[in-house]
Amino acid sequence: MPSDRASKEGNRTVVECHAVVKSFASVHVLRAVDLEVKESEVLCILGPSGAGKSTLLRCINHLEGIDGGWIKVTDQIIGYELRGGKLHELSERAVRRQRGLCGMVFQHFNLFPHFTALQNVMLGPVEILKEPRGEVEARSRLLLDRVGLASKVSAYPSQLSGGQQQRVAIARALAMNPRVLLFDEPTSALDPEVVGEVLRVMLELAEEGRTMIVVTHEVGFAREAADRVAFMFDGRITEIGLARAVLEKPSEARTAEFLSHVLV
């Protein structure tokens, strides 16, 4: 929160993007994106749709490969290996291991519909990380309790509201003990009355010092939870700075115009 902000300056860097370029066919989605996120920092990325916000997140956990530049999470280059002055694409196995660094929360939750809430949370640690089942189950129950769903452990996703599903999805990401949480428009697919419950969970995570990158349209959340806010337009980060400063006195005309549309 505001008082901690200054202290995060000196923290270790968790995510670092350098001149990241990405295009789909002839469309340039990311044009030289530079970004640095420190330990326990919360960064919100705002901007119009099609600006490349989601693509940037998907590149950070290598759901998409990149066409130039590099991305580091902790000290590892994501998806590639530097050998003889070139970045060689990593093996599937190595990419898999790196994905454990990032926890991803999707716009459409993407819970596994054929597993219960508890199974959704346990699946990764038990079957992918091969951790002991008993330990994982205890931890998963705690996590579901923390997101306020202790009574829904054996419910299937189809029996949960959108807000509840998204909270399970957050618990699922947390269960993997990631170094950074990536949120891809986590409230955009929700009914207005349940947006609050998801944002509340995210706010708690921010307060407890999780490193988070949040792509969102919720300016209110950004103001309350973010240390810094970045604006993306047309594949570039056009403005980045302390949340309050950027949201209240944007230096770019485009930022100001975007904010005036979003805030109404």
Binding site: R99, G124, E127, M176
Partner: protein, 328 residues
């Protein structure tokens, strides 16, 4: 806008804001009950429904009367052969070849279905070729091809696996299995491909972002969800296969149809024995339908549409309870 609420009172109604109220007929409560009284609702009559039912039942009765009085038809022969030992063996053989062919078809279908969804153009091409060849030629032709394999390959030598003359190796059962199974695989691969396509890509992304391998994602996340879509089609194919296996009679595999056929060649009670076979096919397909219901329910976990599923279940349960009480 205010609507009629049946109380007969419309307080504070202003003509300028309420269009329906203006055009609606005056509201008259039906006498006695006062402000809470309502009109009686009279259902529409359906005289033709009744007439059609009577006509169909009459025709059915005529048919039953005709069958009962067809003195050429020896019902006792049908009854006698229904539980005949070789007929029962035939039933068993039919079930065996159906199960074996469907299992082979399923295995091939999964392999070629995944190949058809592959990024590798060679795998995709080969899978396409397989479907094209086996879906594009008659099953009876394929059965004869496998049965007569010895004409092109007199000996089969696969070091460490099989070795011998083809005539001895390719039994009627094996020829039928290869014919039906490989043919089914071609259809099944298309069913599987459709099922895989029905699983949203977000499911794969969510699994991959947990650090899962592609193999694990396919096995634990995609296929179980695809199977929910695939199962009704597999059930359909199984029922079809059950009856299709009668073609194996032509390559001297003695399943149900072939067995009854050879009996009526001997005793000339053709229709009687065809009815025997028909009765068993009906029994088997009815049992399979029930099995399909339970398998679909198992793979439907997490997808229950609440009331709809409950209704089907309620009907089945009620029928089972009724059967049980009748037995007691």
């Amino acid at each position: 806008m205010r609507s009629h609420d049946g109380t007969g009172e419309q307080p504070g109604r202003s003509g300028s804001t309420s269009l329906t109220a203006d055009s609606a007929p005056p509201f008259e409560p039906s006498s006695a009950g006062g402000r809470t009284s309502t009109y009686e609702i009279v259902r529409r009559k359906h005289p033709w429904r009744f007439a059609a039912a009577i006509a169909v039942l009459l025709l059915l009765a005529l048919l039953a009367y005709g069958a009962a009085n067809a003195h050429q038809l020896h019902w006792s022969v049908t009854g006698h052969y229904l539980f005949n030992r070789s007929v029962l063996t035939g039933v068993l053989r039919t079930l065996e070849i159906t199960a074996a062919a469907m299992l082979l078809g399923l295995a091939l279908g999964v392999i070629f279905g995944i190949m058809r969804s592959s990024h590798n153009p060679v795998l995709r091409g080969v899978a396409w070729l397989y479907v094209w060849a086996f879906r594009g030629t008659p099953i009876i032709l394929q059965l004869f091809l496998w049965f007569n394999l010895a004409l092109i390959f007199p000996r089969i030598d696969i070091p460490g696996i099989v070795r011998g003359t083809t005539v001895n190796l390719i039994t009627p059962f094996l020829a039928a299995l290869l014919g039906f199974g490989i043919n089914e695989g071609a259809y099944m691969s298309e069913i599987i491909r459709g099922g895989l396509l029905s699983v949203p890509p977000g499911q794969t992304e969510a699994a991959l972002s947990l650090g899962a391998s592609h193999a694990w994602t396919t096995r634990r996340i995609v296929l179980p969800q695809a199977f929910r879509v695939i199962l009704p089609a597999i059930g359909n194919d199984t029922l079809q296969m059950l009856k299709l296996t009668s073609l194996a009679a032509f390559i001297s595999f003695n399943e149900l149809f072939g067995t009854t056929e050879s009996i009526y060649y001997a005793n000339s009670e053709v229709i009687e024995l065809l009815l025997v076979a028909g009765a068993w096919y009906l029994v088997a397909s009815s049992v399979l339908s029930v099995v399909q219901y339970y398998v679909e329910r198992k793979f439907g976990r997490g997808f229950q549409r609440g009331r709809q599923q409950a209704l089907v279940e309620r009907v089945v349960l009620r029928a089972m309870v009724r059967l049980r009480t009748r037995a007691v």
